[in-house]
Amino acid sequence: MIKGLKFLAIIALVALVVIQFVPAKRNQSDIVPASDFIASYNPPKEVESILRTSCYDCHSNNTNYPWYNKIQPVAMFLEDHIEHGKEEFNFNEFGEYSDRRKMSKLKSFISQVEQDEMPLDSYTLIHRSAKVSNAEKELVLTWVNQLQDSLRNQ
């Protein structure tokens, strides 16, 4: 019994070491395009910082990589999120969306945050700083609602 467990443990250890060699794609870019959401709409500092810490890692072309994002399998997990997250909503490319798409993305933004679907739980579990408090939620949603109104009236 003990012997079997030891064997399993060794396999697990080997597996863990081996997957560190799985290359992780780095989602990093220094360029902030003119189409960037924050650059275009100048949110208040607090809102900007919430968006950057809680959303930009998965929804922009530049992910912040603290050490735990570099180890596997976390890196793999994150890479998958980034791929899907950017496909759905890329804050860096927001300005390139059609007016119609901008409006519907803002609508999704509001409902996702309102219902605590975003940021993803599986992510805030490790990245504690990305968690959005109720007060922060309120702040962000109020601002996005205003933005929605001003875009609608353009």
Binding site: L8, A9, M76
Partner: protein, 205 residues
């Protein structure tokens, strides 16, 4: 031996993640294949429509209309699935809406209309795709945006169906939401059986 548990845990996690990611990829491929099947079916439908239209007097007009009709028919099917609180039926109708939008040809419209139509189509496909993959409350959220796209679409293309635009004041935190229906009688797709008759007809489309 004390370290055994976390290590085993990590191994399980690694295996789990491998499986999850590989599952997702295969699912995606399946979706694509299915999309193509749907699309072919759609083409068949459309050819049939076209041939039946040949006999009509005003051919050019009717051909425009028959193409948006394929979208309208599938949208109405989706709407009725939501009225019936049927997630699976809504998901499969959502897929058909995607294919119908993909098959829609904007070439015969003016440049300005084409730009508007392309924006509508891009947005509508995205939301219909979500409907094909989501749980009921998400389906309804995306249906709200899709309905707006539909209203704007038929405003440009027209439709040979008789449609009503209905309005539910409660949905979306009291911001309200519209939908299109083939019935004058209210059957609410946003709340289904919970509030079936909530809403008013705003206009005939």
């Amino acid at each position: 031996m004390k370290n055994l548990k976390p290590i085993l845990g990590l191994m399980l996690l690694a295996i789990l993640i491998f499986t999850v990611t590989s599952c997702r990829d295969t699912k995606k491929e399946d979706d694509h294949e299915m999309d193509q099947d749907d699309m072919e079916m759609e083409h068949d439908d459309m050819e049939m429509n076209d041939s039946s239209m040949n006999s009509s007097d005003n051919m050019a007009m009717d051909q425009n209309k028959s193409e948006s009709d394929a979208i309208v028919v599938n949208y109405l099917e989706l709407k009725n699935a939501l009225v019936a609180d049927n997630t699976e039926a809504a998901a499969s109708s959502g897929k058909k809406v995607v294919s119908a939008f993909k098959a829609f040809d904007v070439a015969k419209y003016s440049e300005e209309e084409q730009k508007e139509l392309n924006d509508i189509i891009e947005d509508a496909i995205e939301h219909a795709e979500h409907i094909a993959e989501s749980a009921m409350d998400h389906q309804r959220e995306h249906f709200e945006i899709l309905s707006k796209d539909m209203a704007d679409l038929v405003a440009i293309t027209g439709t040979s169906k008789k449609l009503y635009q209905a309005y539910c004041p409660m949905f979306n935190d009291g911001k309200g939401a519209i939908w299109l229906s083939e019935f004058k009688e209210i059957k609410n797709p946003y709340y289904g059986s919970k509030m079936l008759t909530c809403g008013t007809v705003q206009k005939e489309v």
